[in-house]
Amino acid sequence: MSEPAISVHNLTKRFGDFLAVNNVSFQVGKGEIFGFLGANGAGKSTTIRMLCGLLSSTSGTATVAGYEINQQPEKVKENIGYMSQKFSLYDDLTVRENIRFFGGVYGLRGKELKDRMEWAVEMAGLQGRENSLTVELAGGWKQRLALGCAILHNPKIVFLDEPTGGVDPVSRRNFWELINQLSEQGTTVFVTTHYLDEAEYANRIMLIQAGEIIAGGSPKELKETHIKNPILEVECDQVVSAMEILQQQDWVIETTIFGTYLHTSVTNEDEGRKKIQKVLAENNISIKRMDRIVPSLEDVFIYLIDQGSPAAKEESR
């Protein structure tokens, strides 16, 4: 890896007694889509806000685009774009006025401003609606306009804090296409999300819980490292009682409900299949389907959270 786009060393943020981010270190390569995953309150937003200069860190250092966040915050700001879940546009300005304002604040002028304005309108799919008030736009458009406004100045790094919160699935997919395009153009994208399906799009993922990083790597690496046992997806009657029965079996490593199915992890696929069929038949539960599945990030996430939870730590002692 050449010089990283973002480099974080022992970054810590404390709010009073509450340790929001605890001694976090990681690096993000240039042009990467870096997914920052965690539950609400895990410390995702706090980290991203420190990196963007919205919050000062309690201790630790970080460089963004080669500039130290506490020493040269204004230099950092020239090189980044930031967009949060709240779509920070002015509702009482029109699409054009919003773009013009942010372009002006970023120092664009003349032809450059005009070109970027056209680009942003096109990117957001708002041709013909340039003079609509922003408040009248639907969520997906607003979100893309916000992204457009945040990257008018062609920043090297884009920070997106839960960019797809509260947006419909189609808009979410479109949005990720935009993110991919940015990455192809060489922009580094740092994105936080709690949608685990979205995280599959990322080149690399970091998992944060209670302010600490608990795992990191590409989606594939994460699955391979943490989910070594085969997972069987079982479609059956009485899912809840089936789960309770399977959980009591000592040969079952873990069983969780995923939607209307059960995900059961066992040590050996063939042996597991037979045993599951047998024990559920004994309890008059009929199985409709049972397949080995490729583990999703959700499986990884749940596994890791269980490992990392205080109860699990207590048990392993």
């Binding site: 700001k77 779509f87 920070s88 002006g104």
Partner: protein
């Protein structure tokens, strides 16, 4: 510099689009000045008076007509007995009661001292005090007249009556109209309320909506952001000064006697302090509600009551007088009353202007330092 212009333009677009805002900026101050110009009146006239004349002689009637002809008292009823008077005062039907005892007339004719009883509703003390002063002057004049009549009957005995006739000239406000005194004060007050309130909401509103976060991540400098935010409000403030000046001059016929350009210049100095205070509140507050409450309690209330607008500072206890030195409105009230009523100029007002300038610089610097372009 360009970033400042961007912010100014954005603020103006937003203000122009907000109809309520336009009303608050352009119409509300004019209305308020007109209403307050009439209401903020300390002159005591037409005191409702009830008379209980137990004497019923030409002398007692002469006294009553002295009261009603003075212009200060309006006799609206006559009571038969003293005990009836309670009713008038209790129900607020009269605030003054005049009791002329029996033998009032005969005592005067005999040259003996006559008594006159006045009952006053003292719940509004300043009103009652002024009324009592008028009443004692009327009584004095009545007794002088009696004295003169007595002497004139003695004409020919060779006695000359010396009299002192003071010739009073009142400067600055010859008719002693309290409106002339109140209108400049109301102007100052309006200017303070408008600018402090609008700026106190300016920053915190963007915090609430979330756009402040977006501004903070841009490379725009704190001072540029603050100047960009304040400039539109100072322009709005000056527009209000013009409007209010027009109303004062042409509606109330109370034009400033001093230099108008100097008035504008000093208004701008005053605006620096009010905008700075509003901004300080805005950077310290988390919500618009909080900002409103703090600007009202911690800035406007003390300024209104302690600046000399309502109560003369000389009458305040020493310790509170010290507090008033920290209120910019105190200096501005002196400036604006001087310019309006006395027509004084730079020579008399430079000290006040200097204080405003120092305050303005101090408050604005504190706000800029406090506003560190961070959200926490």
């Amino acid at each position: 510099m360009r970033a400042i212009l961007q912010i100014i333009r954005k603020e103006f677009i937003q203000a122009a689009r907000d109809r309520k805002m336009i009303f608050i900026i352009l119409v509300a101050p004019v209305f308020q000045l007109i209403i307050l110009g009439y209401a903020a009146n300390l002159d005591v006239r037409n005191i409702q008076t009830v008379v209980c004349d137990l004497d019923r002689t030409p002398e007692s009637r002469a006294l009553v007509s002295e009261f009603s002809n003075s212009g200060y008292f309006v006799v609206n009823d006559y009571a038969e007995k003293i005990s009836d008077l309670d009713h008038y005062l209790d129900y607020g039907k009269a605030s003054f009661a005049l009791v002329i005892p029996k033998n009032f007339g005969s005592k005067i004719i005999q040259g003996r001292t006559a008594q006159l009883q006045i009952l006053v509703d003292g719940s509004e003390s300043s009103f009652a005090t002024s009324g009592l002063q008028y009443a004692s002057i009327i009584a004095l004049r009545y007794s002088q007249n009696v004295l003169l009549q007595t002497f004139s009957r003695m004409q020919g005995t060779g006695i000359k009556v010396p009299r002192l006739n003071p010739e009073i000239r009142i400067w600055y406000n010859p008719e002693l109209r309290s409106r002339n005194f109140m209108i400049p004060g109301v102007l100052a007050l309006l200017l303070m309320i408008m600018t402090t309130m609008l700026t106190s909401l300016a920053v915190v509103k963007e915090k609430e909506v979330g756009t402040m976060e977006q501004l903070i991540v841009t490379p725009i400098r704190s001072y540029a952001l603050i100047i960009g935010k304040l400039a539109p409000f100072s322009i709005i403030g000056m527009i209000d000064v013009v409007l209010v000046l027009l109303v004062a001059s042409f509606w109330f016929k109370v034009p400033p006697k001093g230099s108008v350009p100097l008035l504008f210049l000093l208004c701008m100095l005053f605006l620096m302090t009010t905008l700075g205070l509003g901004l300080l509140v805005s950077t310290l507050s988390k919500t618009q509600q909080q900002a409103m409450m703090s600007s009202q309690f911690f800035i406007m209330m003390p300024m209104i009551y302690l600046s000399g607008f309502v109560f003369p500072i000389e009458n305040m206890p020493k310790i509170i007088q010290l507090v008033t030195f920290f209120l910019p409105l105190r200096y501005f009230i002196v400036i604006i009353r001087g310019l309006f009523m006395k027509g004084v100029g730079w020579h008399e007002l430079w000290a006040q202007a200097l204080m405003l300038l120092l305050f303005g610089i101090a408050i604005l610097s504190i706000s800029i330092v406090r506003f560190r372009k961070k959200i926490g």
